[in-house]
Symmetry: D2
Subunit: 498 residues, 4 copies
């Protein structure tokens, strides 16, 4: 299928005017240019969202859920097309593109169910003739900032919940993936058309660079900012939003580790390492970056791992059988090489990591995945490099392994491979992994939408997706209703004017 | 009872060395000086807390609850003493001092119950042979910053939950109320002594001025900062903590309104206004500051209100029958007068608000409570002045009244007096009050501890006390355990190395 | 559309062999005969379900949810057809038939969301190195017994939840509505075919009379029996299932009242009375049967009500504009007449209630709806008669009205029309209505699926549909995992062998 | 301490009039006679409870919690006394008596926390201008039937929750333990006196035999019956209460097993077996009765177990160092001997089980604990005998072990000793243990009060204590409030009279 054919499925064209250039990491070609939003329009965009909010917040939540149900149906219908476009624009393999769309579908199903819940509480009051309750109300327009590596799922995680919760969405996608964003908006509009009477501007996409993003982030009309990306970006967002007492959901860097214990099923561990370290060319926030192997197992595991790494099929991510596509761009390649240099300087022994397929893809950046055996958890290891680099360290005691796992600034995902209950429960305990996600016999990536997704420390503390993550999209109201004819005070206070 | 007698109940003395000066708003006298903590000691204090955390987080929560139960018992035993000291140091009437201690007791009881809950979730996983669950783990040392007006309750709201959740507490009380803080620490130590093996430094009090507070706020070893006080202070805290990806619970300014509808029970409304506008001399974060009266009712209500205001017994808050004590200090008095001036300039008609009892209390600041009839919601009305000033406005339609209620920067507390179900439910709906607290036929102040306490917008968004406010003191862990011998990927992704 | 055309949409034929006779209340005609299940086959049917359970319980719940999602899609596709068949076989108007199918669709959507929840708890343990949790597991095959008046929705309420919860379903529909049951099974099979690998016999329909029902109810292989119908039937089921320690969800009789207070919006009350008293020809379990009107309002309300009753369009329920169809059969007509006689004997004054349209429908039982003004709540009023009879009583005080409302054996649904908050909240309080459903300014019928549906007292105590009603379909497991190397006992018990 | 001294602590005397004879299993002596309640008084007792209910249901739940808090304080004060009385009257060792009182204290603490929760839900409604919510209201008087083996804890589990939930309690204790019941009532009255204004008859004790129990069970004024005891008794209760549509919490027989896997920590397993098989002389509902040992481990475990059994200190349960006291009476001894005979006839090899200490306690029934190695799970093994008999079987595969565990009529408690995660999680999964309680590396007995306690199948299905077990003591109300001026119908139904 031609690139332009994929675009045309969403009514997009390979136009090449002014604006953002959408470039495919697959071959470095320009896919299209996309009109950039002028930062001066931000007030209008926010005002549009505010108007949509006025109407949407009073639409009953189950009816709001119906829109999201239709969105899920449209996503089902467009699954292959959108999966392919994701692969083309973000460079991940088609299977992962499909998986990403499946996550969108899953979150829609989940949100539809939520639309008849959004449970608050009725609470026992200490005063006679009083009823206390907590209700969750729509919050206001929600700004979603997403990164190139999950160009569509992150939006849907936020949008499906936000819409059901009564909040319009403004989406600022990565400058590297404007087309998938445009395609999602097309899909949303298909759903809205079937829905009938959704207010205008429930979903808006703002294409652009940093300036427009900053203007949005600073705008007091957006009480909620959900931002996925680098720790550096997240810190700026956090401070800007804090300055106006807004709320953030931050999904920032990860530096995810796997502990491989002596009792681990090594076949499973091997498979998990491969998927989570090499998948998406090491460019997932949950990519496995640190392997902490028990010293008695390292000798068995590492040779098999290197051998598996050598057999990974690298190439056009849209082709069947390919497991690893390109890095997103030249900068990513440079950052990777720089990290590998640094690792060597810090005592690391590097296997793989070189550029490849340059003959076929002169303008794209394919690499072999790198294994770096480290003498310890040095500075480069504690830093997140968005590339397929796996640092390997060994340990002797579980305490030591957990301490290594925790001794990085990030706190997103983690896992242990072990069949020993005492080890696995210890890993999941209060004195175990300090990450938001802690898995047992599963790699750090590939979360289900039913759980809350996100992490602590420099990962930013936000939670998206399942569990009660929806509460971040709503405001909480604690109400006490006195239906008696008396006015008792709480805590039994006496206060009477004679 | 002599001032020094009250102090001696907690082993405190009226020493007058260097340090913070504790001054009684009752008569302006100096109660004692309290040693100030050097900001240079902050790293040690945090390290102490970190050591306490290492131990405390692995103590089972129900056992942690036992410490809080004992704290509750000690508070019961010290209720009158501490209530009196609160009255003496913060200037609120003794009845309110007792009420504040009762709140401390209530939250301890509540936290004890929580200690056998702290419920996470088990969640249905999409993969065979997998178990998904969400667990809440202790977060780390918690910094509590409190204000003079609730000099002890705010600490207890945070401390009772934090301790049960596994978090040590560092408390930076207001510089205006060091003695009540010292007394609470004494009470805590009584409980800890009975408990037996609590780690050292579970609760630390840091007395001091802004510098030490800032050093604490900026310290990366304190993942949670719960700060109560002004919007200005809160903004600084929010940004400082955001810069290090910490978590905040902000309880900042309120500008709380009451809507009095035509169907209101005016007797009840009158009593509620009085307690919530005049109580604590108008220095509660939930003090009633804005009265939005239906035009058909104003004529009946205002004369009665003025008459009631005139009969409020003002005087030494420790005396029986007194309903209103002093402002906290000269600055508070100046701010009040300045606001009244501004109100006049903006068209307001002022009744009351003058200084009084100057003969008896030359160094203290007693005032008569002020009613200010305003032509509209002008700038001064939209600003929170911590004093007994009640701005009165009239309205014609409920839509208008709700719009007035919401058109201020703050979002803490609100209420409506009406017996018309359609009005009251509308007020509590998604298009009603935008505050965290919305009451019906109760004033804006005097929350029960069973509900979540806090508000939106410039109030800071934090929630303390009941409902699931405890989650702010813990970190969430989403775990998926694969106990099968296969490794299926979420979203049905296929990824296999040959 | 011909009767047979409707049947043919589901592959059903107007066959007339041996078996149950499906008869249309619309015109008394025979629609088809349906093969009856031999009670001797019950053990095989249960064994089939047990085999399905073995497989289904280990299918991940979100995957089970996918089957229910497909069922929802098939129901959407068949909505008009099934709605029409419901109207034809049960005699309710087409609009209500559509509404019933919509409820099926709604519960499917809801259950799909649940399939990623089915939340249990993680719980704080009092012992170090221990993790406590509560998990909900599939229960086993679920028997659903349904009544003629909601011939399809009741099955779906149970089946959608049961299937998501991991339980196969055996359905014993009313002998009066075998065809709609057969149609639902056809729709289920369409969904199962699309799903692909559902185990055989996940859903089984057992057509038959009392004997086969009793054999099913008594069978120990069916841990859960969800039965909707008369109190008499429910009592037998309850005792039979109790004898084998099974679990029941009983949805039995209702004797639902509306209180009309002086402040009521009479236009709304009138409309609500009409829908809830006359709809489904008074044959809903939530039908309004008792009107408790304040004496000051009765004079205004009753004449308008009688006038509205006179204008109700009675006729073929499949025709446009018709609001009231026939009684289900001759027995129903006899029971109605007998109740009206009794009411007269007890002092009642009857308006309406006679047979009508006999010329057009000689073999069907159309009646005019009856209003019966009663001097008090006599015996006939306390009894549920499944017919469009509305007993009217007056009251003076709310206490009296609530006492009347509660003084019947049944406890299903209730409502108040009032705009006075104090009245409405009192009605909803601990000393208010004793029913499972208590509405304000809504009639007693027409529940949303998001709430739990059911009632107390002779209504049987069961709950279906929303909230945590799903827990009835699962078994609860409380697990404590000791991952330490010590064995402390709960409650600090010492027990050591030297 | 003399028997009479223990009694006197509760104002009880060793009177010997007519009535129930309280006999100590320790030495067979008569402790006192207790007046028996005439079954003819049951209506009055129920009427008393109904009056208490009228008042208590409207007392705010946190205030009700205060009574339970005081009850907890009184239990703390009486812990040693009551523990000793339990030991004296029920024959369990003093340590277990203390543990039982500690459980009473724990549940009081827990219930106090609940008293500010009793959470219902606010729920998203599908209709504009509608609010849906679910509230839990007091249910009515609660009948508690308890057994001799936990003569006080079972009452407190029920009473603490029932009282907080607003329900008065009527307690029918075992005829074998009237004195501990009387003592609890004394303790309750101490708390009530401190509380001040509790209604009369909140707690009533009915001493008596089967007739009075049956009259209570059948009485329609008791909507909730919580019965602990034999399966035979439970079945009668279940049917009687079902006949009047009451609700039951049944805690009946257990036949609890432990699986010891090859990876088990045998030291821990040994200790757990001892406590759970021998403790309370094998007369707990959670006593370990079946040991399912992997064939590779049996050879190591059994000799150690027999040796440990031989060293168990048997004797006066009030003496220090004693681990095993007497059987409750001669009937218990006969039943034990009969079971051992049957076991031999079914191929079992018996070690221990004989009467002992006959010289010292001629009128009491002390036995040595029995280990019975069985060739398979024969009929006697599937039956619960309330005595210290441990049946031992071996297994080869986990599937086989789980099948054995599940193949008994009872479903209360179960456990596995294994350090293999795959085994332990499988044991806890949908296809694992079918019991209400499933532990890992803990014996089957000794539950914490934070979890729900109870089991499936012939155990009766009830749940007490923690989690949301409190819901069984309340009635659920689903309310929808229409605060709009329109009357939309659910499911979008159209129904309009012209």
């Amino acid at each position: 299928m031609q690139h332009s054919d994929i675009l045309s499925r969403f009514g997009l064209t390979s136009s090449t005017g002014a604006g953002l250039t959408a470039r495919s990491p697959v071959d470095g070609s320009t896919l299209a240019t996309v009109a950039e939003t002028d930062a001066a329009l931000v007030p209008d965009i926010v005002a549009n969202a505010a108007r949509a909010f006025e109407a949407w917040r009073s639409v009953p939540a189950p009816r709001r859920g119906e829109l999201v149900r239709l969105l899920g149906e449209e996503l089902r219908a467009a699954k292959e097309d959108l999966g392919r476009l994701v692969s083309l624009e973000a460079g991940k393999i088609y299977q992962e593109g499909l998986g990403e769309v499946q996550e969108m579908i899953d979150i829609c199903d989940f949100a539809v169910g939520l639309s008849r819940q959004l449970y608050g509480l009725t609470i026992a009051s200490e005063r006679p003739g009083h009823a206390m309750r907590e209700t969750w109300h729509p919050m206001g327009p929600c700004l979603v900032i997403s990164a190139f590596n999950f160009p569509v799922a992150v939006w849907s995680w936020n949008a499906a919940l936000a819409l059901v919760c009564g909040d319009p969405v403004i989406w600022k996608p990565s400058e590297k993936t404007p087309l998938t964003a445009a395609a999602c908006q097309v899909i949303f509009e298909r759903a809205a058309a079937r829905f009938g009477d959704a207010p205008a501007n429930l979903s808006q996409v703002v294409q652009g660079s940093r300036a427009v993003g900053e203007a949005l982030v600073a705008h007091p009309g957006l009480p909620l900012v959900s931002a996925t990306g680098s720790t550096r970006m997240g810190r700026e967002v956090a401070k800007s939003v804090a300055d106006r007492f807004g709320r953030t959901i931050l999904e920032l860097g990860g530096n995810n580790a796997m502990i491989v214990a002596p009792s681990a099923d090594l076949d499973m561990a091997l498979r998990a390492i491969l998927f989570s370290a090499v998948g998406t060319c090491g460019q997932r926030c949950t990519t496995l970056r640190r392997l902490i192997v028990h010293k008695d197992v390292a000798g068995k595991l590492l040779p098999r791992l290197k051998s598996a790494y050598a057999s990974v099929a690298i190439g056009n991510p849209l082709d069947d059988g390919i497991l690893m596509g390109p890095l997103v761009d030249a900068d990513a390649f440079k950052a990777m090489q720089s990290a590998l240099e640094k690792a060597k300087a810090e005592g690391g022994s590097v296997t793989g990591g070189a550029r490849t397929l340059t003959d076929r893809f002169a303008d794209a950046f394919y690499v072999t995945p790198a294994i770096v055996e480290m003498p310890g958890q040095t500075e480069v290891v504690r830093h997140e490099t968005f590339a397929p680099i796996l640092y390997v360290m060994t340990y002797e005691t579980l305490d030591e392994a957990i301490a290594l796992q925790n001794a990085v600034p990030q706190g997103l995902s983690s896992c242990i491979f072990s069949t020993d209950l005492r080890e696995t429960e210890r890993f999941l305990s209060a004195s175990g992994s300090d990450c938001g996600i802690a898995n047992v016999n599963i790699g750090p990536s590939g979360a289900e939408i039913g759980g809350a997704f996100g992490g602590e420390k420099d990962t930013g503390g936000g939670r998206e997706s399942g569990s009660d993550a929806w509460k971040a999209y709503m405001r909480r109201q604690t109400a006490t209703v006195n239906y008696s004819s008396a006015l008792p005070l709480a805590q039994g206070i006496k206060f009477d004017v004679g």
